[in-house]
Symmetry: D4
Subunit: 215 residues, 8 copies
């Protein structure tokens, strides 16, 4: 007996409050098409992450964002949820992860604003927006290289801080390793860290927190 290779978790939305996200990078076009077909048949929302452009070109009916590499199919617009998320990024090269966070939050019906390219090499860019930044319910900090923005933000802002290291950089920063260890070792208290480039995870972590607003 050989079972199929797909076993979509249709119970996730009920169990956790959000649907299964499909990790597209290591799946074949054939696998993705079968998952999409299953979801469309059930009218079940679907978001495919890290979907390479050449694969996306073969998928039908959804919306593809080439910066974020997200492919989304939703039969109807998501119901808006309470809470506002602020996304901060260190540099413009972090845009793919920023947009993955933003698109995923949008897919879940959550409002988010992005403040990009405000890394600490020019502190003024962050400090001049501080009052605005402190007005969000949750902050997501996206940064590569040494990711010092996470520590600075966590030292100035009382909100929950979700930190996402990005694979932007070279040498010791290559692949995001320097940013990851920097965020984990932050001298500012309470910074919570995701895997490198894991914008999806950051968005779902925020979604989990926003449940507290409904309590």
């Amino acid at each position: 007996m050989t079972h199929g290779d797909l076993c979509f978790d249709y119970g996730r939305e009920k169990r956790l409050g959000f649907p299964e996200i499909v990790y597209g990078e290591a799946k074949s076009v054939d696998q993705l098409q079968r998952i999409i077909a299953q979801c469309q048949e059930r009218q079940h929302d679907i978001l495919i992450s890290r979907c390479q452009a050449e694969k996306a070109a073969e998928l039908e009916g959804g919306h593809y964002d080439p910066v974020a590499r997200t492919w989304i199919w939703q039969p109807e617009a998501p119901k808006g949820k309470a809470g506002k998320i602020g996304i901060l990024s260190g540099g413009s090269a972090d845009a793919p992860v920023v947009m993955e966070v933003k698109n995923t939050l949008g897919f879940l019906g959550i409002h988010a604003d992005a403040y990009q390219d405000i890394g600490v090499a020019a502190l003024e860019r962050f400090l001049s927006r501080l009052d605005l930044i402190r007005s969000y319910d949750i902050l997501v900090v996206v940064a590569g290289f040494e990711a010092a923005l996470a520590s600075v933000a966590a030292g100035q802002c009382p909100q929950p801080i979700i930190a996402v290291p990005t694979s932007v950089g070279y040498g010791v920063a290559e692949g995001g390793k320097a940013a990851l260890s920097s965020m984990l070792a932050s001298c500012a208290n309470g910074v919570m860290v995701m895997n490198i480039d894991n914008g999806i995870g950051a968005a779902l972590a925020a979604q989990r927190m926003l449940r507290l607003l409904e309590a």
Copy 2:
């Protein structure tokens, strides 16, 4: 001109909602005594983390927990805050970190319950408590070795999940490296990760989130 080596951040409580925590491990007894004296003079709460027993023996007036290695001095009991935290741990060897989380939350006036030694080697220990575990506002998962409990909990529980890898283990798990990478790479969405053994950080991350309950 040579400045002193201490520059306590008395503004942190107002700015962030919690006081500066003193990292005791790499400080001398002399440095700790001077910080304590400053705080006591101002009637300012103080928590020293990772305070070795031999150092604690030389500090006066506070409460020392030899398991958590926290030294606490509070002129009056903290005001209770809204929200309940559930702390889960994989094994009984994780107790020092569990207690660091719990003591820090207590120091901040936050209620927490611990469910220890319920790692996935015997899934029954977790599953039989699942309804109870799902009743908390936030979950903190503390685990060493391969830390699979974080993934299993995040797959079954919709709350925010703060994961703390511990330095329990040997070989590839030595120093907590396997647990850390396992938690960061979790297949369950939205797991947020702290540095290895960083119970303080987990407690303060929870504190930041509980602000959402007051919104």
Copy 3:
């Protein structure tokens, strides 16, 4: 004196009970063609692993599976052997390794069933099949990311557990390193681990164990 670069181990089947497997990835087409010609002349079964599609297109007479990247030539069907293997996988992206295990076992005349995409992010997928899974003689667990399925399965099933980390994942999971350390550090006892993506090794480890059934 310069000797040829090929020295196929024709004695392996007699000595160990299984033929030499040819590791195709780093060999040239010319080297592979010479090995195949030698084997075909002797009517000796041959399995080439990790054979890239472009190389396989130049090899004649065998069967190529583009998912598993195995190229097999067997003059006659293998004799069926006692024992049933259950292969579990965390996600559908693990299919190449799952199929490498399955094809290799088939090549050796061993029956195997695959249960794919049942990772612990949705424990129900595993638990609902638990009775079936417990009915196999040996379990092979194939997983990437944090590979928590290995620990959960080993905690619930008394059989030998052969764990194969896969190179599925990114950030700290890139190249399979997180899955490898997680499986080695498993809190569940007796998990035996193969190199990353080593489906061939898992199949031959199972073959070695099945000798015990004949004892």
Copy 4:
């Protein structure tokens, strides 16, 4: 509500065929004493692994082996099981792990013989015992440094091979890392690898396999 820090898995023997093993290294004497008391009250066998000598001196009623660092309490001798295990080691410095494997198997009622100090620097030591070594049901290979014995044994012996890297060595071999990667990367097929120094795991892996003899 704060639960205790101990949650012994009394169901493990029924579920998996062997009792929970207590990892002693990171537990306090107080924790160990409470676990022992619980087990003794229930007449439940108990093995504490990696129990430091100074802790063992404070535990009562059991048998302590200072080489293997195992502390064992069994109200009655274990029932003998079918199957014979051969344990091979590279050097005499590997004795602690060899004895951990042997004591754990003995605790489970399984017969084992050890062939120590037969590393490949003098191949004669292995080759002269080859016929004998090939007579066991399962081989456990324990080795530090570059652990080449695992590959040589797996190339000459058709049995299941459980490889345990040890933390014997210095420089690149420090902590067992060279031995671990060497065993995982073995050119001989089907070598199954445990975490560094994990003699307990090797013994329980063997126990799982011996179930096949009873099939």
Copy 5:
């Protein structure tokens, strides 16, 4: 012929402008005593770095600073040199390295002021001293954990920035690795990095630069 194990570089001062510094950590007391005797005989200044307290207790005639672990013997006070160095540190636990920099500069006749415990978790501590800090010729930034102070300082100050990661921290920061990679990967341009805890090197790098003032 066996030569002695000591070959002090008396030509260094003439060649490079500063004397050889003796790395004390891995030398025996006997070796240190012989070097001191040689220098004293020649009336040659000597600084022993990383000299453990128990060794220092056996050395005669010099000045030992137990925080910096420097042992210094100078027959006469050094001639003062042009230039002012500002030393900034992230936390009070960095004091040993701060003092090693300061003592070495003093040994060379160079003026330095230390601004300690002004890490970015409370940016105010740095920003409120910014005008003062910008008045030095060279800045040495000493920090452990994620060392974000180096990036913030380099973004606000036009001077040469010598960054010294310290081994303060735990988990991913253990041994100073996170601080080192963070400083190397700084998004702020022109940060120059020393080995972990290398206060001696930072002081001598500053000395080399001050030659430009004399040009």
Copy 6:
């Protein structure tokens, strides 16, 4: 509200004495074109580093150096500054980094000479130029493999030494890791190290130092 992804730091020149350098490698052509347009509108000098040739082909109006991968647009020639920089390199394969340093210095109006391919495998190449090399104000040493040139130069020359490891090499030297650790661990005092291949940083570090000449 979603802000744009670009936030160029026009204040950097005034604050630090040099303009923001644009890191081109991870930016899209669209992003680069928008930054260039902004700068050209303001008549603001712009240097894009690590600009791939295929991107450079789409950028208009500037000068591209395919070896250094720098793209520069300057409305008028920079004003010459005091000070001379000597750039030394280990091998001819280091040319891209050497030229990045040189072009960046030129962009800033600083004079530099390059002495390439003088690694220590043939010490004569360095020693025969020693007097000349000792005549510069600052030395930049660019080297891959084991980068021993940095230690040799720092032992013979009293100037500030900025060391840039390059990603030239294979095996343990791959990606520049051996060169980086070698330069950080130099036995010669005062070597200051940049991230791997960070020629931009070396040039700006030199620029910061040359301010001392103006003091």
Copy 7:
């Protein structure tokens, strides 16, 4: 003043007994052509290592071996030298490094025989040739994966053993890291190790040793 990027070491042959070898991998075609022209003008032998096929196609007058990736130009055949080298390899995928060793020795006038594909997975392949292998002056062992052949050979053969790890393998063996650490950690005494894939180095190490035959 800007010097050229080439500085060929024409004195090496006289100083060390062998000419400079040109590392081709990171050099441009233009750089290679200029070096060749210089050498041809002087009638100086030249060997370019790791020369990619597409580069070699643009170089004139020499002999290119696409397996070894060596490009050689010698105006006349080298003078034969005393001594015989035996090259052993673990698998046929190691052929590029084997041939780099062999071609370099040939370039230097040294006789070598290769015994390929005799790894320890089938010890018979090595043992059956042992008498022959023991007849060489020096052995070069080339192997990837866990490289156990080096230890086995060094345990059976009294000659100098030069071990070259190769980048053949995947997972923990990727890039040759497992083979490198295994060879360095060999339990057999006196194994000397080269960088991964460094066949050139092995050949020149052998050349240095053969000088002893002339003593």
Copy 8:
């Protein structure tokens, strides 16, 4: 059947030309005493390496060198062999490894001279002895930190170069890792590398080479 844990290789001297060396670090005093007794009974030379002082104090009849940590028992002086070895070291802290090499060579009847503390921070120390150094048959270079001495020596001397990295250093040099990778990546051709601190291996590698003098 349980075999003893000792299996001394008495055939090594005949097979390889040198006796088995006993690695003392991880053996118990009891094990060492039994090996010594066996050897003394057979009048077989014995050298125990890395023998801690407290163990050596319990061993009788041999000579212990506390710097090299070698314990040697030889019933009669070894027969002198042809050949002279030059041992170079970077700093005086490398003395333990230098002496391990020297004592082992002495044990084998081979003459060696040591030139210590001549690292490249002061090139004069090496260059002024160059003629002498070039007069040896083989050079052993022992160095910690960045170990640049190996490259410099190999660039100036035509002899075989055996490089031994030492665990002297801190930060990135801790444990000898920087020295190891530096020596492996040397730009000078033909440097052969031993494991960190492996003086024994270097001596036996030299012994193997000296056989060529007898050819």
